[in-house]
Amino acid sequence: MKARIVAAEDVLSIVDLLRERGHEVVAPFQVHGADTIFDTVNDANRSRIALHIPNPLYPPKRFVLPHIQRLMTIQQTDGKLRFEPVLDGRRLAVFGMRSCDVAGVGHLDRFYLDRDFRDTYYAHVRAGLFIVNFVCSVPGVDIGPDCFCLCTDTGPAARNGFDLQLMDLGGRFMAVAGSPAGEELFSAPIFRKGSPDDVQKRREILSAARQSFLSRTSWFSAAVRAVSTGSVTEETWEEIGNRCLECGGCTFVCPACTCFTVTDRPAGPHRYERVRVWDSCALAGFTRMAGGFNPRKAVHDRRNRRFFRKLSHYFVQRELSVACVGCGRCAAVCHGDIGMPTVVEMIRRGAAKEAAHVPA
């Protein structure tokens, strides 16, 4: 992979380069209070793009899997019925996507593109997406109290899945190309060759960043083992279920969640559009069938479902990673404190308690 150095005052010029190449660029902004969001860059807000801010809670996943996505129009006129696919032709670039979210897109790629059926809509949006990864390095700002990407092996610096990676070396940024399209940007005069000092500096910053995580160890492998072998007790699931408020927040902020529902809505005379909308396994109606039968009524069964889907060995093998990227958003939004790190810990403790009862 090729790397270059870009001066701090030139780093936003990368946004200009992408816009010149026909991309609609989205980037992180600080908004009211402590809130941060991804928003479309225009001439007016370009200077307010902020890299060293907490990662927005509403994940950039929506730029590859829109929260609401039109699939087709359904038109019935003059005795004819037509299903016309709606394919979004936008070419998006996400500037400042954190490594956890890059890993999330990688997970979605494997889920939507590499299985028995290929998702046309996802493939279409994904093909136009350019990812500028930003490496988290400042404790307390980039790296929040809930971050645990060290435990999921997805950060703080992504190893792949980006077109361009930026890392703040203090006064200058190191840019690493992750794709031919990323490397192509290096033809711009803002990029200059780096020195061995820059590489050394990168290593030092990364090493310091790794030391600054509040949760540096977790028991993912123990949780994966317990979930895969079915040794998590009903008691543990009930305890987890009791704390779930069924708000669905964890799934809506998750960069690796994939579930959606589909609905047809009116779009004019004799015209409907079929849209897909993010859905959540935390909600009671998720599995309710026409007629009212619901095979998964209890809250703890639904929690069991979510964590089984994310942690079981079977799916880890199928998708080549746990369906968790360590972003910590579920931990941040959960009112009942049953985000992924807590659940992993509860599963581990439950399994340990169980093991203690086995006679020697």
């Binding site: 299903f83 396994c281 998964r296």
Partner: protein
């Protein structure tokens, strides 16, 4: 399983409703064909037990099993009016258009069951997906041993496909046994749950070299499984087809995922052994 790289898997093909047939109260069969005959290629050679996604304009899309056997030329769905989409489908009249995509799912491995006796146990509208296998077995009579159909419904008026059943029974080595929960004045047959048929005089169900197909409401399923296991059927010789809320049919939307299986792509047909390991109510 094949990959569908180029086509848009979510896009339905236009179907024309040719005629309808009322089966029992609230259950109707819809005979249809694709508006463009070329679209029918996807359905040529579907497997018994597979399903399709049906789109009704203004209502939405829902999964529906395919009751015809692939050996039959007519395409039809048998649909109970139960939710908003199926209610809208019941409003369709001959000549009306709707959307169909599929077929999806694994289907019953009928080839693996060659040389075996087939025992079909259906409750209520559970007969709909099993009809495909029964007719398939009738049309490939030489490949299968004895065929027994045990079918129960709440009342005599809720027993469907009855004229066909009478036809099947004329075939040598084929038996159909009916039962109802509540008889009416005209009912001369058996009264009781479908499992009680197994113990009736003159009925012999041999587990040896047999496969049992079970489909019906959850309660019936649990009791019939118990009966079959006690009669000596092994868990891998009991097969069923599961029903789940589904939106995509292609393993993406996540609604039908139970345990390690997506019902739409890994199922809907599972052996009882698999179902037990999935660990969720039927």
């Amino acid at each position: 399983m094949c990959r569908h790289d180029e086509e848009n898997v979510y896009l339905p093909r236009v179907a024309v409703l040719e005629r309808v047939r009322d089966e029992i109260p609230d259950v109707r069969s819809f005979y249809w064909r694709f508006a463009d005959p070329a679209d029918d290629a996807a359905f040529a050679g579907f497997r018994p037990g597979q399903f399709a996604q049906v789109s009704i304009v203004g209502a939405g899309e829902f999964p529906a099993s395919l009751p015809p056997s692939p050996t039959e030329s007519e395409r039809f769905f048998t649909i109970r009016r139960v939710g908003s989409c199926t209610a809208a489908m019941h409003e369709l009249r001959p000549g009306d258009l709707f959307g169909v995509r599929g077929p999806y799912g694994n289907g019953f491995p009928m080839d693996d069951y060659r040389g075996k006796n087939l025992v079909f146990v259906a409750g209520g509208i559970g007969i709909i997906p099993l009809r495909s296998c029964i007719v398939y077995a009738m049309h490939n009579r030489q490949h299968y041993g004895r065929v027994q159909v045990f079918y129960g419904a709440r009342t005599p008026t809720e027993l469907m496909y009855r004229s066909e059943m009478a036809e099947w029974c004329r075939e040598k080595g084929v038996e159909c046994h009916l039962t109802v929960d509540r008889a009416d004045a005209d009912w001369k047959g058996h009264v009781g749950v479908v499992g009680s048929l197994f113990k009736q005089p003159g009925i012999e169900v041999a587990a040896e070299n047999s496969v049992a197909f079970v489909c019906g409401p959850p309660v019936m399923f649990r009791f019939v499984i118990k009966d079959l296991l006690s009669m000596g059927f092994s868990e891998d010789r009991i097969v069923s087809t599961l029903e789940r809320y589904m939106k995509c049919g292609v393993g993406k939307c996540g609604h039908c995922c139970i345990g390690v299986a997506y019902v739409c792509v890994d199922g809907p047909v599972f052996t009882y052994e698999q179902i037990r390991k999935l660990g969720e109510d039927i």
